[in-house]
């Protein structure tokens, strides 16, 4: 269901989840565009030599995935903040799942708070946080 007004939003509502494209070509494209094209994001071998589990999905790319999920759900939403805590790295070429759920609604101000998580195949939380979005009345 696409959300166009805050009156459509329900507490506990789950946003449509999706599996982001964390393939190396996609991450490379993003990293170059964002000016973050260092080898730790674009080169598995280099990243492993640095002691990392592989090339990393940049944190701002994860935030972009979370923001994209919100706009797929509510195209007219204004994202005021996305506040993320990075608990464990997201590695390029591995599957992750982006989820969101509504945890607070203030109809007077039009503000909705959304819990955000990035989990892996083992259902371990790699990134979590909250978003504050304004949805028109």
């Amino acid at each position: 269901m696409t959300i166009n007004a805050i009156t459509d939003v329900e507490f506990g509502e789950e946003l449509p989840a999706f599996e982001p494209d964390t393939s190396l070509p996609n991450v490379k494209q993003f990293a170059v565009a964002a000016g973050w094209d260092g080898p730790r994001f674009t080169d598995h071998e280099y990243a492993r030599k640095e002691g990392l589990p592989g090339a990393l999905v940049p944190g701002i790319m994860s935030q972009g995935f979370l923001s994209a999920m919100i706009h797929h759900w509510a195209p007219t939403a204004e994202v005021r903040s996305i506040d993320t805590i990075f608990r464990a790295p997201c590695v390029v070429d591995q599957p992750y799942f982006i989820n969101g759920v509504v945890t607070d609604i203030d109809e007077d101000s039009g503000t909705v708070e959304i819990d955000l998580t990035v989990t892996n195949d083992a259902k371990e939380t790699r990134v979590f946080g909250t978003a504050r979005v304004i949805i028109p009345s």
């Binding site: 507490f11 506990g12 945890t103 819990d115 998580t117």
Partner: protein, 212 residues
Amino acid sequence: MILDLHAHSIKSDDGRAKVQNYCQWIKAREIAIDGFVLTEHRQFDDESDYKELGQKHGITILKGAEVETEYGHVLIFGVTKALQESFDFTNIHLSLAQVIESCDAHGAVAVPCHPGRKRVGMAAHLAEFGIPAGVRTVEVYNGGSRGVEDQIAQQMADEQSYLGVGGSDAHIVSHIGRCATEFAAAINSELELVEALKGSDFKALKISQEDA
């Protein structure tokens, strides 16, 4: 009675959940817990009173703390003014022995949490510092555990004959109640929680979304 013994609110630096939203979530999703304990990082929340909120939702809301020692993080239940004056909760280099000694002296209980976690868990420090004296109970189920962290915690508990509790370690609303502790006794206050933890009639639980 089932309590989630480990949760953080916006009072913690990395907590993003408002307490009223935890209550709403538990009721809306029918999470199988009767209450939770707010264990804010490096502090005890003296100023908040959640009695009315708890009564409104029929949920027991208690308060504790999570402090940091050379053995990793430790939950404290039964925090009093006197306990707070006995050591600095904000110190990230506390001595576990001192924390346990102070808790014993002031009627509180110290429980090392997520002991299977690297750096901030007790198991990772046993080789360096040895088996600490005075630990009786550890958190064997933590809702934020990854990989084999809970297995490491349980194995350590088995080897040392520790009792086990569970807590979600929730920092966002939707993570409350992922793990919890079932008590035989009814618990409606921090004092009753301490009494129950000084006994042995409790067990750690994992609560899946499907069970909730």
